[in-house]
Structure formats: C-alpha cells, structure tokens
Symmetry: C2
Subunit: 195 residues, 2 copies
DNA sequence: TATTATAGCTAAAGCTTATTAGCCTGTCAA
DNA sequence: TTGACAGGCTAATAAGCTTTAGCTATAATA
C-alpha cells in the first residue's frame, strides 16, 4: 500500500467519523505516520484529497452496483431469496469500506453536486436497479407475481436503506434492526411472491 | 422576535446549509446584524447555540409528531387518503423550518448520541407511529385490510422519507420525485386497501 | 434622580488550521 | 560517480476561529 493510498484510506476513515470540516490535515498525517506538510508531496491540498475520495466512491459504486455478478445465479425459492438478500445486506452493513463511504456520503452529500449525485446513486438508484433485475428475473421464473420490477425493488429496498442508516448512527440497536429488516423482507415475500 | 431567537434562526439556516463545523460564529452574527462578540451576551458559546437548536428540534418533534391532530378526522376513502397524505408530504417537503431541521439533522446525526436519537425519531419512529395510528383507524373503518399497522406504516413511509431526502439534496428533480411518491402511495393503496 | 442591568461595540488574545519554503536523505538512471 | 528526483522533515506564514476584556449607551428600576 503506497503512502498515497494510505492517506486516502485514513482520510476516509476520519471524514466518515468527524466530517470533512471536522478533520484536520494534521490528524490525517498522524494516522498515516508522517507530518502534515508531507501530505503535500502527494496531494495539492485538503480539497484534492476530498476529490480523490469522491473519485474512489464513484469507482466503488460502479464496482459494487454496476456488476452483474448478482444475476449469475438467481435464487430459486422464497427461502433462498431471503437468505441471499439478508447475506448481502449484512455484508453491506458490516464491510468497513462500504460503511465508511456510506457515512462519508451522508455527511457530505450537500457539499457539492457531485456528492449529491453519488449519494442518490448509492442510496437509491444503485440498490434499486440491482434488485429490479433480480426481481425481474425471478418474475420470469414464476417466483414473483408479474408487476413493475422497478416499483417492487423500491418497496423492498427503501426500508432496508433507512434501517441500515439507523444502524450506522445507533449501532446499539443493531440486533433489533436486523430483525426488522428480515421481518420486512418476509413481509415483502408474503405480498409479492407466488405461493 | 428577540435577538436570541434571531440567532437561533440564522444559526439553524447556516448549519443546515454548511454544517456546524462549516459555519463560523461571525457568519451567524452578521446575518443577525450584530458583531460576533455580542453573541456571547445571549449564549455561552457556539456549542451552546447548537444545544439550544437540539432542544428546539426535540420540541418541534413533539409538536409535529406527538400531536394527535391528524387523527381527528380520518380519511374516508382511498382518494381522500391519497390527497391528505400527499398534502402532508408536500408540506413537510416545503416548510422552511422543517426543511432546515431535516438538513441539519442529516449532517450532524453523528455528532452525539442525542442527535442520533432525534434523527431516528424524525426519520423513522415519528412518521411511522403517526401513520400506524392513521392506518389502524382506517383498518377499523374497513378501508384497509387487517394487518399489522406498524408494519404497513413502514412500507408506506420509508420510501417517502428517502425520496424527500433526495429532493433535499437534488431539488432539480423535485417534479419527478413528487410523481414517484404519488405513484408509490397509489401502489400502496392497491396492495393494502379493501376494494 | 441615581443606579443597575442589558446589549451592543472595539480590540485583542490565543489557538488552530492549511499551506509554503527550504532543507536533507536515499534511490535510481545516465 | 554524479545528478535528479521522490518523499520525508522543520520552521514559519498567514489566515481564520472562538472567546474574553473592557467600554458605552440605553432602558428599566429603586
């Protein structure tokens, strides 16, 4: 891991924790193990670090939501659908990098148009499109009732996104949040799955 | 409006726009029309202003979600339910004070436990409880199918909350967001209302 | 009327912050 | 071997920040 990458990594950690304005370049440097002025050998300034992080968030978005990996093997039963969906949600909740990006975006979403756009893609369009495809595939397999897949994907994901956001700010409720999410998914299956 | 109130008002406006750390006491003072040191005749410091704002957000929560005003006259038809729900949502979206509190909370939710708690109440529990009661009442009237009202309320409100958040950061999409919300509510009625 | 409190002001302290200038060392290529 | 460069360092600058001290005028009160 190069120093440049280490800077980005620690900067993201700190921005996620204390926000961009709440984080000093000195703090970042200290975590990296160098002195603040040395940062300027790698980046033009604090804002340059921010922009690099935005680029990374954008790339991460493509990588995670853009791939069609999740389509390779569609769930073939109600229980399998619930299981893989819960697995994906728990992964999203706990993966350190995704967590940091999520917290970072939530706090900085109003800083500029690009951040606003990425936040919407992460929070709405990304998950929505991903599940729309899965649900569409499962409709063709006769597992879901025929309906607008995009609309159903929204019904499924909106609550999950909100509950994950709650877990981010109040980790002490994680247990019950996870249960709420599973309850919601089961309810979703009750309503939209073919018996 | 006293100076103290004016300070709180302008502080909230600025915190909502640029965040707490992104706002200087000098800016607040300037908006109020006084010099920065004069602020200290009214508040012990910047953090004292923040705490007063948190108190206000808490009070505003009670006032808006705690009241049972919305229960006095329950909608008596599908179209009336859609109409009053859309009205309430549009009000929530546009009311300047509620908007500011929403933006403020979103950005500062990680600053301390109290802010995290209030954010959850505003974003989840408040709306959810309010609609749970409305839906429960309408179930008794035979308008909704019998089900768990809290669960249905979640299905209804989660998407609305997410879409309002999107409108906050990307007001240029307000038109389509409003349409999405109405579409979602109609879908909700299709699924859960008695014909 | 005398006095006291309120609420503004200027000046400035004192700290933090981002950034720059300039130096030093080790590495690698000519 | 020499020279260039990458990447670290210290010292310092310059600006910004919050907050305090102390002055003044007005309004309320005894």
């Amino acid at each position: 891991m190069t120093t440049k990458d280490k800077i980005l990594d620690e900067a993201l950690t700190l921005f996620a924790k204390n926000g961009y304005d709440g984080t000093g370049v000195e703090q970042i440097a200290e975590k990296v193990g160098i002195k603040a002025p040395s940062l300027y050998k790698h980046f033009k300034g604090k804002e340059d670090i921010l922009n690099a992080l935005i680029d990374n968030s954008e790339a991460r978005y493509e990588e995670y939501f853009g791939s069609e990996q999740h389509l390779r093997k569609l769930p073939e039963s109600r229980e399998e659908f619930i299981r893989v969906t819960m697995e994906r949600i728990l992964f999203t909740m706990h993966d350190p990098m995704i967590r940091k990006i999520r917290r970072f975006l939530v706090q900085e979403q109003f800083r500029n148009d690009r951040l606003a756009d990425i936040t919407t893609r992460h929070q709405l369009e990304g998950v929505q499109k991903m599940y729309a495809k899965i649900i569409e595939g499962m409709m063709e397999m006769g597992l879901f009732v025929k309906d607008n897949p995009a609309l159903l994907a929204n019904e499924l994901t909106a609550q999950v996104v909100l509950l994950i956001a709650k877990a981010d700010r109040q980790p002490q409720y994680e247990q019950e949040i996870t249960e709420s999410i599973e309850r919601h998914i089961r309810h979703f299956c009750d309503v939209y799955m073919r018996v």
